[in-house]
Subunit: 286 residues, 2 copies
Amino acid sequence: MQCVAIVGTGLIGASFGLALKAAGFNGSILGVSSPAAAAEALECGAIDEVLPLEAAVPQADWVFLAQTISRILETIPRLEPLVRPTALITDAGSTKRRIVARAQAHLSRGLFLGAHPMAGKEARGARAAEATLFAGRPYLLTPEPAATGADPRVAEFVGWVRAIGARPIVLTPERHDRLVAAVSHLPQLASTAMAAALEQMPDHAEFPAVAGPGLVDSTRLALSSFEVWGDILATNADSIDACLAMLEANIARLRASLRAASLEPDFNLANRFARRLRPSDQPAEG
Amino acid sequence: MQCVAIVGTGLIGASFGLALKAAGFNGSILGVSSPAAAAEALECGAIDEVLPLEAAVPQADWVFLAQTISRILETIPRLEPLVRPTALITDAGSTKRRIVARAQAHLSRGLFLGAHPMAGKEARGARAAEATLFAGRPYLLTPEPAATGADPRVAEFVGWVRAIGARPIVLTPERHDRLVAAVSHLPQLASTAMAAALEQMPDHAEFPAVAGPGLVDSTRLALSSFEVWGDILATNADSIDACLAMLEANIARLRASLRAASLEPDFNLANRFARRLRPSDQPAEG
C-alpha cells in the first residue's frame, strides 16, 4: 500500500492522514476536497498533495471516503470508472446499511470495506485534526461476508487500524446501525431534545449563571450541527425511532413516579449501565 | 467568626472545611457526623474536632448543614435549643422551599440563610473532598428578604463564599427551585432515563465495546445515587415535572420529524442553548 486518496479532508479525513503518518506510513497521501478544506489539510501535514477525484483515485491503493453520508452516497458511483481493480475503498460514514448497499450496487471494481471510526469532537475541519483521534476508540468494520479475513486487503487495513491505536470490531451493516442508534444517535438526540427544551423555557437566559458542570457535560452533544446529523438520522430512522420510543416511555414513567418517590429502580438500572461503561474506574460510591 | 460547626462531613461539608482553611480561616472547625464520616473528615484535615450536635452547636458562630435534604429537615428543629442567638445557620441542600419553610417554622434563634453551592462530583465522602470544589461555581443563596444585605452575618458569609472562589447569587426559594429543576434536576433525570433505557435494551451487553466518548459524557450523571436524589425529587416534584413534560414533548416531536428530516429547528435551538453555556469557548463550527 503506497498511495492513499482521502476524499473529504475535514476532521476525520485529516486525522486519518496524520494518524497513518504517525504510525509509520511513508507512501503518499492525496487529498480530494473543496479548495479551502484541502488547503487546511495540506497546511497541517495530513495530505501531501491536492488533486481532483479523477486524478487521485486512479493512483490510489486505498480510497478513504471521509465525507458526509450523502456525499459518500454521491461519490461511490463516480469511483467505478476510476478505481484500480486491486484497490480497497473504505469510508467513515456514521451509518452503514445505505452506504454498503450503494457500494454493492455501483462498485464492481476494487474491494469495498464499510467502516465507521467511533471518534470525533465538537470542532470540525482539518485545523482540529489530531493523529491520536482514533487511539483507544472502536473502529467498526462491516466487510462483505466473503471478504472477512479472507482478503489480504482487509487484513492489511485492519493492521493499520490497530497501528493507529484503534480497536477493530467486525459487524454486519444491520447490526452496526442498530448498535450505533443506541450508543451514539440516542445520546445525541437526548442531548438535543433537552437543550432545545431548556432554550424554549421562559427563563432560559438565567440558566448559564446558575448551571453546574453536569449541565455542561450533558449539553456537549447538543453543539453538534444538523449538517452532519441530518444524513445520519435520515439513513437510520427505524433504529433511532425504536430507541427514542424507549427513552420517551422512561421519561413518562419517571414523571408518573416522581411524587410517589418510586424512582429507585430507574436509578438502579441507570447506575448499572453507567458503571459498566466505566470498567476501569473505581465503582462510584453512590 | 471564630468557630464553625459542620453538620454532615461528606463531600460537600468536608470540602467546605478545606476551602475555608485554604482561604485563610484560622478559627476552629467542629465536625458532627457518623463516626466513620467524621473520622474521614478529621483525617483529611477538613475538621479539627469531632463532637455531638449538642456539644458543637452551642460553640458555633456558623452552623453549616451539609446533610441530605431529609436529614437537614430533621436537624433544623433540634438546633433551636442549642444555637447561639448571634449564630448564622446555613445549609447546602439542593432544594430550598421546604428547608427554608422548616427553618421559618422552627428556628426563632440565630439567622437562617438558605444556600446551595452548585458543586459536586460523582465520588462521595470526605476522602473525595477538595478545597477547590466551589471555585468558579455558583453559590445560590436564598436569604429572607429582611436579611438581604442588611444583616452583617449575611455580608460576612457572602465574603467567605467569594473567598473560596464561588459566585454568590441571591434568589427567592421559589425561583431557586424552578431554576435548579431546569439546570440540574432535568439533566439528571434525562441521563437516568437514557441510561435506564440502554440497560433495558436486549443487546445492552455489547454497548460498552462500541461506545464513543459522547455516551460516557452523557451517562456521567446516571452514576448518581437515588439516596441523594430521592429527597431532591420529592421536594421539587412540581417544577421537575414541568421540565420533564417539555423534554417528553420534544422527544415526541423529534420522533415525528425523524423521517421527514425536519429536525433542523430542534438542532438549532439546542445549538443556541449549548453555545450560550460556553461563552468562553470558540463558537463550535457546527
